[in-house]
């Protein structure tokens, strides 16, 4: 990297952190430290809500997903505007009027203390399992781009995030996030502009989109043909709107890492406005990131592209492997080079023939080229796994490969800085909420007479603990495979049940006391049953393997399970009392 890029990589994150800490420095009391004094405007919270969800994984992993699978991931976000309206009309006013510090505190008022503790424990487990990914993603970039070992990167990023979150609390988190989103929007725009302008001279934007479309990379809306496909295929319209709705209701309504952002609003209107900002901006933003991945896929058709995007690591591993493996690797590389050249010709022929009678043959040739390249690539991924022992492909290395080679001086530094800031801004909110829930839901509820300043001190120590936990767990994240999906699968196992208990409290006034935690435990058991029993074996659909129930459905199953069990218990209890 050029000296100017290095200056940007160091200066931008430093500036963002300094400003965040400056704004959080005055937070001495409990409300100031945990909720930024409940005095933040809607746009700042709104950007923080988006930044909390958009980690470095969003930039790296979703771009890779767009390259490999096209726009289909966009389905996950389609229900977001509708979920935000439901939350703004229900949960947001409940929380703000109840003046709670955590979402689960509300459950103690509505049901009992055990329900609050169980919900908090489920949150701590789910968020604790996912928190390491926020550190792992940028460590890839540091490794690939700057040559800094991943272990050193994880320790450095974790240390910085913990330091300013411990010091500045929620205000530092929110105002760091605001700048993060600004830098991130800029980085996405610059990346799109570069990929479009770097296409060959005779391939325009519409041509590139046509190639991506013919390569099945632009299917933003997919309707499954039957119920089996609807359940098993993760990305289709029905699953997106129904199961996805429960996913976002759970994530924004019952995950403390998000609830704690909008509880900092000046009033209920500012809290609502913050969520509605995501409702309008999130889908276009994700569309832009996925489109970037799809366009990089097209761009790579015309460039000298490696068979494996983490080429240097693969070469090093193969060099120490037996002679048979080295020969296999060289064969794969020459096969890939030939298939790649053939596909390039097919893509150019497709552009020339688009709209003409020869178009169908050109589409078929392009698809055959794609299939051939994908087949060789698949063999390379298997060889990589056999040689290195690490799971997953190279999806998370596609975007770093692209910007490292194609970005001009200054722009490279901007994107690398954006990824660092994104990582820290996602981690800080998670540490802040994990610490808050640990202290407020598990400890402070039993020590109400304690000096609030002691609670703040304890929350700072809890932030440090969770920071260490995140740092250690980040070392094990690599074995999970593609990160973005792993994070959402873990979340989906918990969100539905957690939101279900809030929904039960609203829909069933006679459900009181222990019914809350019994229903929550029952709904969570339904999700676990689906994951470990129904999804124990994959099924074959359209020639490919898939789980019988896609992960987004876990949210609906958990939520409906909690409400159904809660209603049943409430009715049985009332009938027994009447008898």
């Amino acid at each position: 990297m050029h000296a100017i890029d290095w200056v940007l990589v160091v200066l931008l994150p430093a500036l963002v952190i300094w400003d965040g800490v400056r704004r959080g420095a005055g937070a001495k009391d409990l409300e100031g430290f945990l909720l930024a004094g409940r005095n933040v405007r809607w746009w700042a919270i709104g950007l923080s809500v988006m930044a909390t969800q958009a980690s470095a994984t969003t930039m790296i992993s979703i771009t890779g997903h767009g390259y490999e699978h096209g726009l289909r991931w966009l389905h996950v976000y389609l229900a977001l505007p509708f979920a935000m309206v439901i939350l703004c009309a229900t949960i947001v006013p409940w929380f703000t009027r109840a003046r709670v510090y955590t979402a689960y505190e509300y459950l103690e008022q509505r049901f009992d203390g055990t329900t609050r503790v169980l919900a908090s424990v489920l949150f701590l487990i789910s968020r604790g399992l996912a928190v390491g990914t926020a550190l792992y993603a940028p460590s890839i970039v540091l490794d690939v781009v700057l040559g800094i070992p991943q272990s050193v990167a994880i320790l450095a990023m974790g240390g910085i995030s913990v330091a300013y979150t411990v010091f500045g609390g929620n205000a530092a988190v929110i105002f760091t996030d605001v700048k993060q989103m600004a830098v991130m929007f800029l980085a996405i725009g610059v990346s799109l502009w570069i990929v479009i302008t770097r296409l060959p001279a005779d391939v325009g934007l519409i041509d590139a989109l046509s190639i991506a479309g013919a390569s099945n990379r632009l299917e933003a809306i997919h309707v499954a043909p039957d119920i089996q496909h609807t359940l098993a295929d993760k990305y289709n319209l029905v699953t997106a709107l129904f199961a996805g709705l429960f996913f976002f209701l759970g994530y924004f309504g019952a995950d403390q890492s998000q609830v704690q952002r909008y509880l900092a609003g000046k009033n209920v209107d500012h809290s609502r406005g913050s969520l509605l900002l995501s409702a309008f901006v999130k889908v276009p933003m994700q569309f832009a990131i996925l489109l970037l991945g799809a366009l990089i896929y097209v761009f790579c058709m015309f460039e000298d592209t490696p068979i494996f995007f983490r080429a240097e690591a693969m070469e090093t591993a193969v060099a120490e492997a037996p002679a048979e493996t080295r020969t296999r690797w060289e064969d794969l590389k020459s096969d890939f080079a030939a298939a790649h050249a053939q596909r390039r010709e097919a893509a150019l022929a497709f552009v020339a023939a688009d709209g003409s009678p020869a178009g169908d043959a050109a589409v078929a040739a392009l698809r055959a080229g794609n299939a051939q390249v994908a087949g060789i690539k698949s063999e390379a991924v298997k060889l990589h796994q056999a040689v290195t022992g690490s799971a997953g492909g190279d999806g998370d290395f596609i975007y770093p490969w692209f910007f490292l080679r194609m970005f001009p001086i200054g722009m490279l530094g901007l994107v690398v800085a954006a990824i660092f800031i994104a990582a820290m801004s996602s981690l800080d909110a998670q540490l802040n909420s994990l610490a808050t829930s640990s202290v407020m839901d598990l400890w402070a509820r039993r020590h109400k007479e304690v000096d609030p300043r002691r609670v703040v001190t304890l929350t700072r120590w809890a932030t440090l603990f969770w920071g260490l936990f995140a740092t250690v767990s980040a070392f094990y994240v690599a074995s999970l495979g593609p990160m973005i999906e792993a994070v959402n699968i873990i979340g989906s196992m918990f969100y539905g049940s957690l939101f279900g208990v809030f929904l039960l409290g609203w829909l069933c006034p006679i459900a009181r006391g222990a019914i809350g935690w019994l229903a929550l435990a029952g709904g969570f058991a339904c999700t676990m049953f689906t994951h470990f029993v129904i999804n124990a074996k994959k099924i074959v659909i359209d020639g490919g393997e898939a789980y019988p129930v896609g992960f987004l459905w876990y949210n609906a199953i958990g939520c409906i399970g909690v409400v159904a069990i809660g209603f049943t218990l409430a009715l049985v209890t009332r009938a027994r009392r009447a008898a």
Binding site: L78, A79, P81, V85, S210, L218, I221, L276, A279
Partner: protein, 39 residues
């Protein structure tokens, strides 16, 4: 100042309607985009 829930809901109803319309419009536009580049 505390606003009664009923008045609060009426005050926010137009914003909610616009948000829902935006959600529907987004899906419609994406559907058109998908169809435009489907082969």
């Amino acid at each position: 100042m505390t606003i009664e829930p009923e008045r609060d809901a009426i005050r926010w109803a137009p914003v909610y309607a616009i948000t829902i319309a935006w959600g529907v419009l987004t899906i419609a536009l994406l559907w058109v985009f998908t169809a435009a580049f489907a082969y």
